[in-house]
Symmetry: C2
Subunit: 248 residues, 2 copies
């Protein structure tokens, strides 16, 4: 499993992914789910992948090779809009699935995967997309300015309650880390190291890009503080009059 979050805010974009991959609990490995493609001052593209690792890696390999060796062909390096980028990812998804799917299905292996694709290309605003396993895609909206993929449920409530387009990049980053922490506590197949990328609107380069290991002091502080904060917040909730004497 995996857990990835992408947020599209007025101030820019926030991306967070775990780096655990597994083919069963006896085959856990570490593999980053975040990839960036960029040309400083011109474009920054970020992908977060979930699902079948051979599918998602080969989609990225295909995109990478084509940008490198076939510069005249439409690719990540010359797409003029983030919509074209999402389309390219979707097309490559279909290409790799067409090649591998029958072989995987024959062995009951799930051949599906998905991408969160975001970034900015000079000339348009930062944008964020979710590319499905079938190659089609949707874009984030002000009503729901975020996407999650993988093990999404444990970490959804905190994002759902906090994130609006006006949330600052700093606040959104903390929210994403808390959401990830809730997910890691509940699902062993989601785990550190974590990859965080913060992108300030119109900067056309990564503002902050950081890998947080399991023993990262800030991550450990955040986990402890959030645990305490929730207990305090719950305690501070107005008591129901009819619950008042239930403890005798």
């Amino acid at each position: 499993m995996t857990y990835c979050i992408g947020m599209n805010l007025d101030a820019g974009l926030v991306f967070l992914s775990d780096a655990r991959t597994n083919a069963g609990v006896d085959d856990l490995r570490s593999a980053g789910k975040m990839r960036t493609f960029g040309a400083d001052g011109e474009r920054l593209l970020v992908t977060l992948s979930a699902g079948n690792l051979s599918l998602t890696q080969n989609v990225l390999n295909l995109l990478d090779q084509r940008a490198r060796h076939e510069p005249d062909r439409p690719g990540l390096h010359n797409a003029r809009s983030m919509v074209d980028v999402a389309q390219l990812v979707g097309d490559c998804m279909r290409e790799v699935r067409a090649r591998d799917e029958a072989y995987l299905r024959a062995r009951d292996i799930d051949p599906t995967g998905s991408f969160i694709v975001g970034g900015q290309i000079a000339g348009e605003a930062p944008r964020l997309f979710l590319v499905y396993s079938e190659g089609n895609f949707i874009e984030s909206t002000p009503e729901t300015p975020y996407f999650q993929t993988g093990e999404t449920r444990f970490g959804k409530p905190i994002i759902d309650r906090v994130i609006v387009p006006g949330t600052s990049l700093h606040e959104a980053s903390k929210c994403a880390l808390v959401s990830m922490d809730s997910t890691m506590r509940a699902n062993l197949s989601v785990g550190p190291p974590l990859d965080l990328l913060v992108y300030r609107r119109d900067s056309l380069g990564a503002t902050i890009q950081r890998r947080l290991e399991e023993t990262d002091p800030y991550l450990m502080t955040l986990q402890r503080q959030w645990n305490d904060a929730l207990r305090i917040a719950l305690n501070a909730l107005q008591p129901a009059p009819w619950l008042d004497d239930c403890d005798g």
Copy 2:
């Protein structure tokens, strides 16, 4: 879908369930998932059910009819331990499944269901069990003094971080309501009215039993306060030094 929570604390037991049932989004109905069986001063038994409604209702019908009409047979009314109660629920589950399962499977209808079963019988401590669809069951432990059934993931992190055996009944009730609220926000097929039962240890009768409608003033206050509290708690988390200037 459904969401049910049972907690086994030093001070007693807390049960919370929603009352939405659906056979597709165009067939939503309300059906309480909580049932109590009791004899004041002698025993209080509570069941919370999830899954196929015809299965879980008929398990309870069977138990109810037998307690009523076959008083000499082992039943909810004369079980001497909560273990026997969990066993009775499991046996009836097998009985109803044996009768219906082939017919349901033939139409691709999921024939499974599960119960949280808790309570106290004079002479032993309050106990809490999870009875699986196959009729086997497990008991709560001090390490994980709660069970959830149905749509469990959205509401797990808050319980996971807060509930320990020493949590008060009042605090645990608020926690259960917040966990339910997170779930209702995320999954339309979980919804009010909610049934809450608080059981104080050794009281051998329901301490608080309350149905909360969607417009219940306390529920609405709790939802608003929790939303605010989370935003404040997130804001109060120690900022990462390396995130300090990401908003420019």
